[in-house]
């Protein structure tokens, strides 16, 4: 059982404390993501573990042996590092570079043997770089080079693999391939993988557990769902994000909404009610908020993205249970909100029997003399799942004075009239 324990380390750059009291423990088959904003100490943590920066306090144990007490070579036989930047001074071939990964296993005068070359070959196959073997490293693209470096790390046959943003230069195809590879190796060979990510989606997709760093301390650590919550992200990154499970892959995915810092107080006294759903309302909500309007919205079902957004943005919303049509109570609440509002904006939302009532609410609003703006980015025809009833209603609205616009911005400019 391979265990890497980090116990209470403090790391300094000069006199500046960069990491404080970091404690955690990882074992084989753990694929751990290290996340955090810039400057939170992620790279420093990796450097501390890889022995590039000795902690002033605390100890790091690999299988109960203090890694700082070992010789470089001993550590190198067990730990491999894939750094962020790779500047290679001389024009070695890719195979030369991968073979350098065998260095810790060779004695001083030993030349690489068949076995070493076979290991290198396998590593390059796994990273899809075998065809680059003879090419000088400095002629390769950023992505190819990154994969060669990863192959080198694999050639070391480590038990612990540290990666600092391993996919930053790779295209999406290679990103997934490499991450799949690493995950597979982690499980099959029982590696410990510690990787720094900036990309939350990749992190959530591959990491079982994660640690979230903030200002040099561990803010949260544990299974990835408990670490990467909207709350945590908001607190650490100051960004509003929505974390949901993807309906198809069942993986977490994270969608940024806005930076919470840009929360502006409403400057105008105008209330605008938005009829939306399925994500169509988010841009409108954001823009209006930015412009200082007071926003309300309804009726939305609680699984709807716009509902999440409204909650996050602090917009009063009339909600409804999912997969059920709008109830009388909700409709009444909606109408109440509409009464308060000066204008209604209907977003580019698909209409089904479930939310058709919202259009009727709009009709009521129009009769009560509210300004109605209909945003039609795509034609209604394609969004009508009510056999034409939605289209009829919309046409009626338009004939009775609703303003049709083609974009959010246009809608905004119409609002200026108020």
């Amino acid at each position: 059982m391979v265990i890497l324990t980090v116990d209470g380390i403090d790391c300094y750059y000069g006199s500046v404390k960069v990491l404080e009291n970091v404690c955690f423990s990882v074992k084989e088959r753990d694929f751990v993501g290290v996340l955090g904003p810039n400057g939170s100490g992620k790279t420093t943590l990796l450097r501390g573990i890889s022995r590039a920066l000795k902690p002033h306090r605390g100890v790091i144990l690999l299988n109960d042996v203090d890694i700082y007490a070992l010789k470089s070579v001993e550590v190198a036989k067990q730990m491999a590092v894939v750094p962020q930047d790779n500047v290679i001074a001389f024009n070695f071939t890719a195979l030369d570079i991968v073979l350098m990964g065998r260095h810790p296993h060779l004695s001083r005068f030993q030349m690489e043997s068949e076995k070493d070359i076979a290991i290198a070959k396998r590593a390059m196959e796994l990273t899809n770089t075998r065809h680059l073997a003879e090419r000088p490293i400095n002629e390769l693209s950023g992505g190819e080079r990154q994969r060669v470096i990863i192959a080198r790390a694999l050639a070391q046959e480590p038990t612990v693999l540290l990666l600092d943003e391993p996919t930053v230069h790779l295209d999406i195809n290679n990103q997934l391939e490499i991450m799949d590879l690493l995950k597979e190796l982690c499980i099959k060979k029982g590696l410990i993988v510690l990787a720094v990510f900036h990309d939350f989606d990749l992190a959530t997709r591959y990491c079982d557990s994660a640690m979230l760093l903030n200002n040099g301390r561990i803010f949260s650590i544990g299974p990835i769902e408990t670490v990467l919550t909207g709350e945590n992200i908001k607190k650490v990154f100051q960004v509003n994000m929505i974390v949901k499970r993807h309906p198809v892959t069942n993986m977490l995915y994270i969608v940024p909404l806005s930076t919470s810092r840009s929360k502006t107080k409403p400057s105008k006294d105008i209330i605008v009610h938005i009829i939306c759903g399925g994500g169509s309302g988010v841009p409108i909500m954001k823009t209006l908020l930015e412009q200082g309007y007071v926003v309300t919205t309804g009726v939305l079902n609680t699984l709807d993205t716009d509902y999440d957004a409204a909650c996050t943005l602090g917009i009063p919303v009339v909600n409804e249970a999912p997969f059920s049509p709008i109830t009388k109570e909700s409709h009444k609440a909606n109408l109440a909100m509409i009464d308060e509002a000066s204008a209604i904006i209907i977003g580019n939302v698909p209409f089904g029997y479930g939310n058709l009532k919202n259009l009727e609410a709009a009709k009521v609003a129009l009769e009560r003399g509210k300004m109605i703006i209909i945003v039609e980015e795509t034609s209604v025809h394609r969004r009508d799942f009510t056999n034409g009833r939605a289209q009829n209603l919309l046409r009626e609205l338009k004939s009775k004075g609703a303003i049709a616009v083609e974009s959010c911005r246009e809608a905004l400019s119409k609002l200026q009239a108020l």
């Binding site: 590092v81 001074a89 030349m111 400095n138």
Partner: protein, 363 residues
């Protein structure tokens, strides 16, 4: 290297046979060096027929000696070959080897194509030592050994020691700081040399000629003095050839791969400086060899230090032996300074190689 794409299997087999290919290259070059040495024994003011030259050498060989008839070889001819030409040629080979080895090491550690063996102040330290010895006219021999090489050697080591200690942070020596300290110290010491030149008065010429570098008066005792140091130094440097390869990945990465970076750097710097100091103490300041030979061999043979080092060493030795032969032949009996010949020939040849390989040579 050209960018023909070999099949992956082909590539791997070439790697297998790499070690034997390398051994072959080294042997061929060593033979070339030996031939060059023998041929340049034929070069000099005194016209000695080549057969006589061979005769004289053979006489001293363990087995051949008995087979050879040397009755009509005059004492003078023997003296010239054995006492005058042989030591200077061997010194040329040793100095060329040392400078090339040091050049490879420094370029590898500093990852800078402009690095040469003199970059850490060895040359200016030696110049100060030699100039001091010349100015003070500290009787030109001290216990039978000339004071100029001794002070030159001491001067270079002191200069490197100072540069090292200025740049040291704890037990680490950051590479950029080393380079800059080296430059600063060199400039300072060159100024001191200039002052010494003014004080020297009529001995100015001696200093100037020493600085220009040459092998005119090398004796066997000079050769024997530097032989062990240069052989030992280059061997130690070769121990760390693979480490030098890995240093190319960056110091931190090298550390991750198990290279004890600080220890390797220190050792390589120490021995690189030692062999350079030994070379300079005997030959004065010969430029370009330490800078150009590593580049030339790297362009032809690639960056792997396990072959680059032995190749550069042998090529450096051969190059300098040839340059010295030219220097003493071209306007005989006057001798041109060797540094002039190395620059005149080395420079254009390097340019030619760079142009031929411009795409793929990167450092």
């Amino acid at each position: 290297m050209t960018t023909t794409v070999m099949s992956a299997n082909e590539v791997e087999t070439t790697y297998f046979r790499r070690a034997s290919r390398w051994k072959l290259i080294v042997i061929v070059l060593a033979v070339a060096l030996t031939l060059t040495i023998i041929l340049s024994l034929n070069v000099g003011f005194a016209q000695i027929p080549f057969s006589t030259v061979l005769n004289i050498i053979a006489k001293r060989m363990p087995f051949l000696g008995n087979l050879v008839d040397s009755s009509n070889v005059s004492y003078v001819e023997e003296t010239i070959i054995i006492q005058i030409r042989m030591p200077r040629i061997l010194a040329g080979a040793l100095v060329g080897a040392a400078l090339a080895a040091a050049g490879v090491v420094y370029q590898g550690i500093f990852k800078n194509p402009m690095a040469d063996p003199y970059v850490l102040g060895v040359s200016s330290g030696a110049a100060v030592g030699a100039s001091l010895a010349i100015v003070l006219g500290i009787g030109f021999t001290l216990l039978g050994v000339s004071t100029v090489p001794i002070l030159a050697f001491a001067g270079s080591l002191i200069a490197v020691f100072v540069v090292y200690n200025i740049s040291r942070i704890g037990s680490r020596v950051p590479v950029t700081t080393l380079l800059l300290s080296g430059i600063a110290v060199s400039i300072f010491l060159s100024a001191i040399v200039a002052v010494l030149q003014v004080i020297a008065g009529e001995r100015l010429h001696i200093i100037v000629f020493w600085l220009m570098g040459g092998f005119s008066y090398v004796e066997w005792k000079d050769v024997l003095a530097i032989l062990p140091l240069i052989c030992l130094g280059t061997m130690v440097i070769y121990f760390y050839a693979r480490d030098l390869n890995i240093l190319a990945l960056g110091e931190e990465t090298a550390q991750h791969l198990g290279v004890d970076v600080e220890k390797v750097k220190k050792l390589l710097l120490i021995f690189g400086s030692l062999v350079t100091a030994a070379a300079v103490s005997v030959s004065g300041l010969i430029g370009f060899v330490g800078l150009i030979i590593p580049h030339m061999t790297r362009i032809v043979i690639g960056p792997d230090h396990r072959i680059l080092l032995p190749t550069s060493i042998i090529v450096g030795a051969t190059f300098l032996v040839i340059c010295d032969a030219v220097a003493r032949m071209i306007v005989s009996p006057v001798e041109l300074p060797v540094g002039v010949i190395t620059a005149l020939s080395g420079g254009p040849f390097l340019i030619y190689l760079l142009r031929k390989k411009k795409e793929s040579y990167a450092i």
